[in-house]
Symmetry: C2
């Protein structure tokens, strides 16, 4: 590691110490009031760019295990999924379990998992409504998310907030939705004073078969990311992503357009903690020293 | 059930249908933009009443299992605790697990649980800092919480947001903190146009021993609740609670005052979804028809 990189890491670590606090588990942080002010500013900043006719949904951090399985998540990302387990049974069963030092062996899986992304509950909600109108459907989804990552760098949390805009409809307007959000997102990063670039990307699909899926995803240009140097210049952090799912969710949930075809879907996702950290890393931890235009954009 | 109660339940159910949407699991709802507007208004309404010198923390929906055990939660509420379980191991282990229809049998408990209340992570954070100053410490804590309840009525969710003000210090100022928040909370409910009363209460401690703990808690006046008729007049819903923990957390975390005594703690907790539902139940689902003073209080 050269001196420049070391200084950069020191800088990031001092930033993190000022706005986040480790609370006894890797990748889990308590967030200061200062950090939350920036998250709230970002929330409004993103809301103001919501397209007309968008339906707003906020989801709790847990969701139906059946729904996540039906979405194909278990096949693609089994290593990342967090499930909710509880002590079940009558009073004597639970009391006996708790008395054992290895009480966690008595846990049983519930019908719930921790949501791995904000948009998953949208598709079954829409499926229950019938056909997708010809002009398509726009959604704004927000949720706390959980992913059991193998490592937890400063920009990779176990629990984090994701905000998404989702479009469901015919392939061409779905691709147009993604294209205009890529260009809008780059403008947003510029307004926030964040150095950035857009790059093709792939999801961390599981295992050997997953590596083939990732290559195919890259070849088909299904995923792009907006990258901001946070931990390092050479490995910048994905703060937004732009995902074309083709007919993946349409097929999983039998989403049909009015013309009787399987609907396509796309989403733009904002990583709230990563965006906030990118702002602190770029502009420092004293809000009063941030560029006036950035503060105005974030109502700070 | 008499006709009045039936009509009341119809009213509540039509309210819920307008602002929440079941998403495939009992006690789990997607929340509409309208519901979120009211939650955001409540958030600001509560923040404006924050006392000077309060330190603000926001916590993710998961926390350390060791911390929750050390807090005594497992002994008191083992039936309510949600733990995070994952598929662990190498690629072939996880792939093999996923291929089995009973793959959930391969889940293993992680070091994380879902937070059952917003204030639990505060005490170990404070313990790591050394003695409590003579004037005590004030905190503002917010978190998504999870409780595995036995039944899920409209006012009893599995996942919900809790906001808390917490005081840590000597017994007398701790009790004063709680007393002034009881009176302030009643004023807040009045400002929001919510019919309410304050009543002694007890926690749903587990099992037979728990019933004795509940009686003792009532006898010692350790818990009060602000109740609003939501589902029924005879069984009103606790929308806020006022809890004196005595030296429970002080002993668990060796919190010491500057005078060398074990610190006492108290908290006031706001159930965000319950307060929002109480507002909709009282004033209807058309914000424009709400009393002007209530709308002003909530910036709506």
């Amino acid at each position: 590691m050269n001196l420049v990189a070391e200084n950069h890491n020191d800088h990031i670590e001092s930033i993190v110490r000022a706005v986040l606090k480790p609370v006894g588990s890797p990748g889990i942080y308590a967030q200061t009031g200062l950090f939350e002010q920036v998250i709230e500013g970002l929330t409004v900043f993103i809301s103001r760019r919501r397209e007309p006719g968008t339906e707003v949904w906020k989801f709790p951090p847990v969701m139906s295990r059946d729904q996540i399985q039906n979405s194909g998540y278990l096949q693609s990302f089994p290593h990342l999924l967090g499930c909710v387990s509880c002590l079940d049974g009558g009073e004597s069963d639970i009391r006996a379990a708790v008395e054992r030092p290895d009480w966690i062996g008595g846990l049983e899986a519930t019908e719930l998992v921790l949501s791995p992304a904000a948009c998953y509950p949208i598709y079954p909600l829409v499926a229950a409504r019938g056909d997708i109108p010809t002009k398509g459907l726009l959604f704004d989804a927000a949720s706390y998310c959980f992913r059991r990552e193998a490592t937890y760098e400063i920009d990779r949390l176990q629990a984090f907030r994701m905000r998404e805009y989702v479009y469901i409809g015919m392939p061409e307007p779905v691709l147009n939705f993604r294209t205009r959000w890529i260009s809008r997102a780059a403008e947003m990063a510029t307004q926030l004073g964040l150095p950035h670039r857009i790059a093709p990307a792939s999801d961390p699909f599981f295992g050997r078969a997953g590596r083939i899926a990732s290559i195919s995803q890259l070849e088909q240009s299904l995923k792009f990311e907006l990258l901001v140097p946070l931990q390092s210049e050479t490995e910048p952090t994905a703060c937004m992503s732009f995902n074309y799912h083709r007919d993946h969710f349409g097929t999983a949930w039998a989403l049909r357009t009015a013309a009787g075809e399987t609907a396509h879907t796309a989403c733009v996702a904002f990583g709230m903690e990563r965006l906030a950290l990118a702002l602190f890393a770029t502009h420092g931890v004293e809000l009063k020293n941030w560029p006036a235009a950035v503060r105005k954009s974030l109502l700070l």
